[in-house]
């Protein structure tokens, strides 16, 4: 029974944090695909159209994988 509960909890009730990370992954793949296709970096709008979500949603999802920039990293560690 505990296992079923865990399954339901995992599958039926998805927390926002998890869903944002999934979206961030999709954004990463879409960005790579579009870059190949277009021969340049895609814009947020182009990625948004590919994934059929608002560009503001992209801004929010990207935050779930936010890492300070390289320079910042080097300095801080």
């Amino acid at each position: 029974a505990g296992e079923i509960k865990r399954f339901l909890r995992d599958d039926g009730i998805i927390k926002v944090s998890r869903s944002l990370k999934q979206t961030a992954n999709k954004i990463k793949y879409a960005q790579e695909d579009l870059a190949k296709e277009l021969g340049r970096e895609p814009t947020i709008q182009e990625i948004a159209e590919e994934l059929n979500i608002d560009k503001e949603e992209i801004a929010m999802a990207l935050e779930s994988t936010y890492q300070p920039d390289y320079l910042y990293d080097v300095i801080h560690h």
Partner: protein, 147 residues
């Protein structure tokens, strides 16, 4: 101790800012890590209130200011959407399902009903010529907090 947080955002009454407002509230509320469904309820309600401020309060005038405030206390969020627009002459009538003052624009008249359905509490205050203030609260049942 109950965790408390507060934010207030103001923006121009342009329809491009509707999705901006939705994401601002979602980003603030997501600090509590609710379920997707709970967050989506809030986004839907905020969307209706902000759309009302833009199309009814300011009647598509782009230089009005819409104000959205949110307060988190424990697992409860209170959201206020305010405009300094034309106000509502009869709030009771405005809140009736299917009532719309703009049937020509194919409005459904279901905005307030949606807000009531998706949130736990809804209070509408308005003064003619002064503006409208919609206060909504919701408890995230998925969020456990210690008192």
């Amino acid at each position: 101790m109950v965790e408390k947080n507060y934010m207030k955002v103001e923006f121009l009454s342009k329809s491009t800012n509707e999705s901006f407002a939705r994401v601002v509230v979602a980003a603030f509320a997501s600090q509590l890590d609710p379920t997707i469904e709970e967050l989506s309820d809030i986004k839907t309600a905020v969307s209706e209130a902000v759309t009302n401020a833009i199309i009814h309060g300011y009647e598509y005038n782009n230089d009005g200011i819409v104000i959205v405030e949110a307060t988190i206390e424990g697992n409860r969020i209170e959201i206020i959407v305010e405009d300094k627009g034309k106000g509502i002459p009869d709030i009771k009538k405005a809140m009736e399902p299917f009532y719309t003052s703009k049937p020509d624009l194919e409005r459904s008249g279901m905005g307030f009903t949606v807000m009531e359905t998706f949130m736990d509490e809804l209070i509408v205050e308005s003064q003619l010529g002064k503006g409208t203030r919609v206060k909504m609260t919701k408890v995230f049942n998925s969020v456990v907090y210690k008192e």
